[in-house]
Symmetry: C2
Subunit: 425 residues, 2 copies
């Protein structure tokens, strides 16, 4: 396709989405839930077809030499597809945030001001590899009254097209407005650039993928972007910590699933307990494989088997069985380290001193600050949101785990009886 054709095709989708968004904004929860149930049914009905399309992606990926891990992320099977359909039904059971009255006030002149939650409008989702995102993102946007334009990765294009077609067909049979859920059907890279410039029709872009993708979207986008670069999470073991609890929390935060953004990357240990805590931590680790990269004091305690940490380690998201360890002189130093090297995702203090915990929670400038809890709980499901569209490390609009509420805006509705400001002109 020429650049002009891509531009035209994406803008046509934008116009359609804007129209759909106006129709979606006034749907009630029951209507949206009926659509969601119909979409889940259609996903199940088209299961064999979707798996056949997925097989094409897997074959192409194999030929292109994708790694086993990437092929696994791409792969759908009956169980995974059933999980996708069940996820759609689950969203139908969640409360509809639209219409919630956030604030009400009556002014001395009698005008009544109501702040009401409304959908954002049209949301662009740009993502890589995992085809389940096509469904997960689209249905969360639908439940919150938004139209979506989806742009998946080329490696999953057949799967994505099949899933999007099932969602559209199922939804439209139940009254879903046309163009509510649209997938860009081609994989030319220029489509990302066109989306990023289309602020006339896209109210928000959520990029989900690697740092390169996110960087590209951030530098091109003319509309708000909600994103998440890194999860460089910390656990600080205070001098008044229950050391056994601290070791359990650190081990869980690091090893329960190292490949995710809420996993621990840097362990900070108060120097008053380092000599006791660090050997205990290693003992509790047992046979779990974990490469430690420590500061000088850590290596003095644990020995030269611990690799020396470099400056770069303090800001690295390993997503692997690697842990940076630093001994600090005080809680203040821990807070300063976290605010300097962290990614403002999730940071935890382990201490029995309540006052110091409260100071840590207040002074650490991160989306999620934890006291005596594993960082692995930093997640929309674990927070009880019922679903998660992602975790934001931004500070505007949405911060931390994002669910339906974070996919809404608000509107002021003002009612009066003819109030005027006073004729001056």
């Amino acid at each position: 396709m020429t650049e002009e054709e891509i531009h035209e095709a994406v803008y046509a989708m934008g116009r359609g989405a804007r129209k759909a968004a106006h129709a979606l904004a006034v749907l009630d929860a029951e209507a949206k839930n009926a659509m969601l149930r119909a979409m889940a049914a259609e996903l199940r009905k088209r299961g064999p077809e979707i798996l056949a399309e997925n097989a094409k992606d897997l074959a192409a990926g194999g030929e292109r030499g994708l790694s086993g891990a990437l092929l696994d992320r791409l792969r759908l099977d009956e169980a995974r597809l059933e999980a996708v359909a069940a996820g759609v039904e689950q969203v139908a059971t969640l409360a509809d945030p639209v219409g919630e009255v956030l604030d009400e006030r009556t002014r001395p002149n009698g005008i009544r001001i109501e702040q009401v939650r409304v959908p954002i409008g049209v949301i662009g989702i740009i993502y890589e590899s995992r085809p389940n995102v096509t469904s997960d993102a689209a249905v969360l946007c639908l439940k919150s009254g938004n139209a979506t334009i989806l742009r998946g990765g080329s490696e999953a294009i057949h799967s994505n097209r099949a899933i999007a077609a099932a969602l559209q067909a199922g939804g439209e049979a139940a009254g879903l407005p046309e163009h509510s859920i649209q997938l860009i059907p081609f994989t030319d890279r220029a489509s990302v650039q066109v989306m990023a410039g289309m602020d006339k029709y896209l109210d928000l872009i959520i990029p989900r993928g690697g740092k390169g993708l996110i960087e590209t979207v951030v530098s091109l986008a003319r509309m708000p972007v909600i994103k998440h670069y890194d999860g460089v999470c910390h656990v600080f073991v205070d001098e008044e910590a229950d050391l056994s609890m601290a070791a359990e929390i650190a081990i869980d935060s690091k090893t329960q699933k190292p490949s995710v953004c809420n996993a621990l990357e840097t362990l900070l240990v108060h120097e008053g307990v380092a000599a006791e805590f660090l050997p205990l931590f290693v003992e509790k680790l047992g046979a779990r494989p974990l490469e430690l990269r420590g500061c000088g004091k850590t290596r003095a305690i644990l020995g030269k088997g611990v690799l020396p940490a470099t400056e770069e380690d303090w800001s690295t998201e390993y997503l692997d069985y690697i842990l940076a360890v630093k001994v600090v002189g005080s809680m203040e130093e821990a807070v300063e380290h976290i605010n300097t090297y962290g990614s403002q995702h999730t940071d935890c203090i382990v201490t029995a001193n309540g006052g110091r915990a409260e100071r840590f929670l207040r002074e650490v400038d991160s989306a999620c600050v934890f006291h005596n809890v594993s960082t692995r709980f930093s997640d929309g499901e674990e927070f009880g949101f019922g679903a998660e569209i992602g975790i934001s490390t931004d500070k505007l609009h949405a911060r931390g785990p994002m669910a339906l509420r974070e996919l809404t805006s608000y509107q002021y509705r003002v009612r009066g009886e003819g109030q005027v400001k006073g004729v001056v002109g």
Copy 2:
């Protein structure tokens, strides 16, 4: 200055601001209020000095041939400066949004999740001509716990420097952390570009000024931007409107102060009442000067004295004594017109039919939707927010009039007793 020097100078301010922001975030309301009162006192104390600096800007502006209106926006006098100082004191009386608990929940596993309002961090304000913005913006940011980097227009540089120096000196004597309020002291255009790229230190940019400035910031910014392009506001006179009330509201919305963003630009009239309403509207206008640009039906009713409206008129923000007028066949057509040509700022229906009013409020996709109220009430002061940093026509984070709450983010504080997710790895 070379580009490199500008880059270095602005980044040094960014680093300082980030440090200040961490200190500001934990200040209580009383501490911030004391600083604000000290800043107001210092503004008064330095009044003659500030006016002398302002005189330099006025002289330079006169030499450069600035228009009378621009010179008036630039001008400070004792009364205006007193208003600036009084505005600072007024902000000290407003409630502090920081620390408000927005949500609380306890999960089945016992972890307690609290969503707490916190400052955003460092806010960049890029603005033109009016030197009072230096103070207004800085003190609203301070009250909400944020550090600011201010970049004013070259035409007001002497005034801005004098005001910023007074705020800093007054504040710091009362304990304001260093670098909390910083003004870029030079006026090289490259500083805007450097700010827009400095997402490491700036959490948000608010551009205030003409469309050119805002366009520049939007296309360069790597961080969220809250802005306001246009106010193409509508009044729709429904067929069930009290026509006298409708005329009063339309005249007030248009003529009470035409140069502001919440002034009426396009009047929509239901065809069922157009023949009666339009002459009444003209009669009530009386001697007020107002150029009408009408559709064919409007001209058929009011005569050829009304200029023909072009397609461009429907999306024009005149900010002047000019009004576009269109007769529409139904409320649906009015809603469609507003959602197509409007700027999603403020739109009003005048009707005695409550059901139709509610449909209008729900279906018009604008920040502020009004029923039987002049659009001129679309304003933070009129909404009872006590102050206003601007009106946003964006949908993310802040929409409509913005005050202290809109200058905050939130943080999840999670407390437990050693909960771990379960050791798998």
